[in-house]
């Protein structure tokens, strides 16, 4: 029986929290952005407009969630990092509030029914990228960390009924849309959770010199018995 999505979500949040405490350097937070000045001006004006309407002390997060700024999500604009942790900001974990609608459109377009596990993942968790390094857990990026692209990016790579979960990497997990199973037969949520047991660095399961001290630190906050 597949895991409850709430457990997976808890474990995902716990792994991110523990990795952060260990000084893990997430690649997603270490990208130098090219300034999009047109977007910056548009955002500045829109935020100023909302503050004029709702009061000068309206927080940035409140302003970004105002209906007058719904174009950010509608146009699928990725905000500059300074807006993190807004859902449309890049980062380690990005939940897409439009995921249910996107999945529905995908089902209509392809005639495929998206399995519950897969649907729950994209609705409750979304896109994740744990790539990064830490001297003991992932020295010099020794292992590829857990990463799953946003639903629409995965959908664009659909081949038959197989959905690549990180299309930019040809070796990524591929999941059967109808069964929610990976090519090795594991349910996608089980596979994610097993990866989280290794702090998102499943490669450690294959070698004998895993950093037990750091893994124990991460695992102390995980739910479920492996």
């Amino acid at each position: 029986m597949p895991l409850a999505i709430s457990t997976v979500r808890h474990n995902l949040d716990a792994v991110i929290e523990q990795l952060t405490a260990l000084g893990y350097k997430f690649d997603a937070l270490n990208v130098s952005e090219k300034a999009d000045w047109a977007l910056e001006v548009r955002l500045d004006h829109a935020i100023a407009f909302v503050r004029e309407k709702r009061g000068k002390k309206t927080s940035l997060q409140t302003a970004l969630n105002d209906p007058d700024l719904s174009w950010i999500a509608e146009e699928n604009i990725i905000l500059p990092q300074r807006f993190y942790p807004h859902p449309q900001a890049p980062g380690i974990l990005r939940r897409d509030p439009k995921a249910p609608a996107k999945i529905k459109a995908f089902e209509t377009q392809t005639g495929l029914r998206v399995h519950k596990s897969l649907r729950e993942w994209f609705v409750q968790c979304g896109a994740v990228d744990l790539s990064g390094s830490q001297p003991f857990l992932n020295p010099e990026h020794r292992f590829q960390a857990l990463r799953i692209a946003p639903f629409e990016a995965c959908a664009a790579g659909l081949s038959g009924s197989l959905l690549p979960l990180f299309p930019a990497d040809p070796g990524c997990w591929k999941v059967d849309v109808a069964t929610g199973a990976l090519e090795d037969g594991r349910d996608v949520l089980d596979a994610v959770d097993q990866s989280l047991w290794w702090a998102g660095l499943a490669g450690w399961a294959q070698v004998g010199d895993a950093p037990e001290r750091e893994l124990a630190f991460v695992r102390r906050k995980l739910e479920g018995v492996k």
């Binding site: 405490a21 260990l22 000084g23 001297p135 003991f136 001290r213 750091e214 630190f217």
Partner: protein, 232 residues
């Protein structure tokens, strides 16, 4: 909790252990690593002390003429740890572990001076003789340039290689403190080393690291100075 880093250090992985510790940044202070990091820093600087105690009499044997501006070697005494605790309180934060344990186990050294082969007067080469000045004096110096302590400031721990040779040069070698990291950059030193890697290089060259990479180095003197030194 087992001291995994210390075990690696003792087995000879000294450079990679310090590289890992430095990469941890302030995380080296978290409970998971702290005791281990302190054990490595302590072991490293006990080795440094051993090396200093070997080199000083050898320099005297070689007829090295110390400049005498400050003691050639002022060993840390039994109150060093307590004094450093107080200093860290005064500056509002910790010293990098490497610097802290240097002062706790070694003290201060000043090997500036002259020798016909190692550091010739008015010669074309400067050996960059090891100098780590007393932290109190360095902090007082820094206070003159900062708007009072605490607050992050550069602790000047040694003149740069040129000034050591009585020639106009650049900024003094410094460490920005407070800094909770295990090791940190030795600022204004040409190779932009951390303190530990600078000390390692220094002892590999008998206390005169600037000779590294110079084929004209004084082989006989350097080999004599570095004989039996412990690797950092």
């Amino acid at each position: 909790m087992a001291n995994l880093l210390l075990a690696r250090y003792l087995s000879g992985e000294s450079a990679s252990v310090w590289r890992d510790l430095a990469a941890l940044g302030p995380v080296a202070r978290m409970e998971l690593y702290y005791a281990d990091a302190v054990a490595v820093a302590s072991e490293t600087m006990k080795r440094a002390r051993h090396n200093v105690e070997l080199i000083v009499p050898r320099l005297e044997t070689l007829g090295y003429e110390f400049n005498g501006y400050s003691p050639v070697f002022e060993p840390a005494d039994a109150s060093a740890a307590e004094n450093l605790d107080e200093f860290e309180r005064e500056i509002g934060g910790p010293l990098p572990l490497s610097l802290r344990y240097w002062y706790q186990h070694v003290g201060s050294v000043n090997w500036m001076g002259w020798h016909e082969a190692l550091n010739p007067k008015n010669g074309p080469y400067c050996g960059d003789p090891l100098v780590i000045g007393p932290y109190r004096q360095a902090a007082e110096e820094a206070e003159k340039w900062c708007d009072g302590l605490p607050g992050a400031f550069d602790l000047w721990i040694a003149p740069d290689a040129l000034h050591k040779n009585n020639t106009s040069g650049g900024s003094p070698y410094a460490m920005r403190i407070p800094d909770p990291s295990a090791d940190a950059g030795l600022l204004y030193e040409w190779s932009t080393d951390t303190l530990v890697s600078y000390l390692r290089r220094s002892f590999e060259w008998g206390g005169f690291p600037e000779w590294k990479g110079n084929s004209a180095y004084p082989t006989k003197e350097i080999d004599y100075l570095k004989e039996g030194l412990l690797a950092l």
